[in-house]
Symmetry: C2
């Protein structure tokens, strides 16, 4: 039996498969033209059907944010996996188990203590982990600076301790705060140059550093050249979202994820349309709040995904969303959007909204719906 | 085999069972002393073990935010269930199925269109739904005003259409924005008096209105008297959280939910402690942002739950949290909280943080851990 969207109850997370494929194709072409491998970060979707499409389009390996993702995608046949969060020593047994089962899992560290924990556990278990050292290219979060002497110390501990020093990686998370092409190109170049510098420092010390891995969706799409880089990582591009739209790396028409919702009430005097897409359906992510245009909890479209000009989901309780036009707009909301009307809401942040669901409902070009499960939790 | 907390990998959502029981007991005593039934809103925990404890303490019936919760708790033997979100016409078949299976499900409407949909569907299926009319007591969200002529029209449509007009209900969500006892007592009285007025208007029109149901955690704990009210609803009190602490209805010591996390790195020059409790583990809820004290993504405690003075989870990426002290505090974070250190983070909003997990890990007084599943999704 074929499922159609109108047979599904709300709220649900709908993926426009044509838009998703187009986004995947664009990023793959960008990586190809820059001469680097694309290793997509699958933390956005945590969904095998999406990953399959990325691999079909040319991706080489994947990046994950949890070992649970690594386990799930390895079980589905993906073997080249980068776990891009600094390794907690307590998680090493899980990583070892994956590697012994045949998964080419790469782990990450950015500290002397972390490197020592990896080599000590490796030695105790007669295993050489493959490791990336995380570089801090933009003062955003984790990582060691390219000119910090600790970098070579970490590399040395790993190499001499029997680990395989696979390379360096960085993520310029500060790029999410920008919104001009000049600034994005500048941070993309900073991400590249800092990571390449780090690789050179390690090589200069006589240590191996074959891989140089960089990326975020904004920098990946803005980079002019990636000399010295071997692979590009990016995640949210697969669906895009309102935050990425404000950054300037997609149009609203590229957004492939939306939440299908039903009108359940009104406050006609206030122009409020009450929906069943509260924050449980949208997530609490208010990523556009600090950007040039605050979209509330999302941009409202009709059931077919066409934008309704000026209609935003302006507030949200757990299972209630409140949509309205600008205060100056006089609209009979009860008449225009009666109870039972179905709408679609474009989210601020695709990673956070997706995480509110156990699965996506993938809307194909022929109108059929496929149920695509996610790998949630840890 | 008994599970202990130190055998579990992070991040996990830990429930301090002793604190939870104490919170449940306090709210039950409050309802008892006000002479009303307590019908807890289980949307906070969506967890059968918690609901069992609430019922053991004296709760009569439960409130749910999704029909999936209703289905799950009915399957576990709870029959008296209020679905406290205005009924979408498309969800009526699910409600009917539950009622025909023996669940005394009460549904809610606040509009003429909604009431008509209920009676039409009921008539077509020869079924009389039990219905609460939602009252807007504080201009917060949904509901009809107590003095709006539409109120009696809705009551009349339901009654004459063969539905069972069970009563009126309201939720003073604006109470979450307050933080003084005077203001809380005032809004609790507004919630009570508006809902009672609505019931009287319906009765005055010769229609039945046996039940008057009010509540939110802040108003329930602040109400001085509930004359005319028959039942009290509240949800988040079972765990409390930093938002409720800022409202002033609990102490930090009452908070029963925390996220157990591991230190995975540092930026020593900035005083940053990087943890594996990013926003996926904490939720994106920044509910304290607009309150008197902004706690970032949470208050950090040691592994045993003792507060670490001044240490907050100040920012979060998907799987990375960044904890730090005030800028003026000079601390050797690498020395004090080395990689592998386990910490616990008290969240802004227990409903949102819980929703990031499939289950709670319930820490009992004897140190044993029980795995308590949640009913997520729709």
């Amino acid at each position: 039996m074929t499922t159609r969207i109108d047979s599904l109850d709300t709220p649900i997370a709908v993926v426009d498969v044509a838009k998703m494929k187009s986004n995947i194709g664009s990023m793959q072409r960008q990586a190809d033209s820059l001469g680097v491998r694309l290793r997509p970060h699958v933390k956005t979707t945590k969904c095998m059907q999406v990953v399959e499409e990325q691999i079909r389009a040319g991706a080489k390996g994947i990046t994950v944010s949890t070992l649970k993702e690594a386990q799930a995608f390895f079980a589905q046949g993906v073997t080249d996996i980068l776990y891009a969060v600094a390794m907690a020593p307590t998680k090493l047994p899980q990583a070892l188990e994956l590697r012994r089962a045949g998964c080419a899992l790469i782990i990450v560290t950015d500290s002397v203590a972390g490197a020592k924990a990896i080599v000590e556990f490796g030695r105790a278990n007669e295993h050489g982990f493959e490791v990336f050292i995380e570089i801090d290219s933009d003062h955003h979060r984790s990582g060691v600076r390219s000119n910090d002497p600790i970098l070579v110390e970490i590399a040395s501990i790993l190499h001499q301790g029997g680990a395989v020093l696979k390379g360096v990686m960085t993520h310029a998370g500060e790029s999410y705060k920008l919104n001009t092409l000049d600034a994005l190109q500048e941070i993309a170049e900073l991400e590249r140059s800092e990571c390449v510098k780090a690789a050179e420092a390690i090589r200069h010390a006589g240590l191996p550093c074959p891989e140089v891995s960089v990326g975020s969706t904004p920098t990946a799409l803005s980079a002019v050249q990636l000399e010295g880089v071997t692979e590009l990582r990016a995640g949210v591009y697969v669906f895009f979202d309102l935050v990425m739209h404000n950054v300037g790396v997609c149009t609203l028409d590229n957004l492939a994820l939306s939440v299908l919702t039903t009108v359940i009430g009104h406050q006609p005097e206030k122009g409020w349309i009450i929906t069943d897409s509260g924050w449980m359906a949208m997530s609490r992510d208010r990523g556009t709040q600090a950007q040039q245009r605050d979209y509330g909890y999302g941009v409202v479209c009709d059931e077919n995904g066409s934008l309704i000009d000026g209609l935003l989901l302006r507030s949200a309780n757990q299972e209630h969303g409140v949509a309205s036009f600008e205060e100056s707009t006089i609209v009979d909301v009860e008449q225009l959007y009666p109870i039972g009307t179905r709408l679609r809401v474009l989210p601020n942040h695709a990673c956070a909204t997706g995480a509110q669901y156990q699965a996506y409902e993938a809307l194909k070009e022929n109108g059929e719906i496929e149920h695509w499960p996610r790998v949630n939790g840890w």
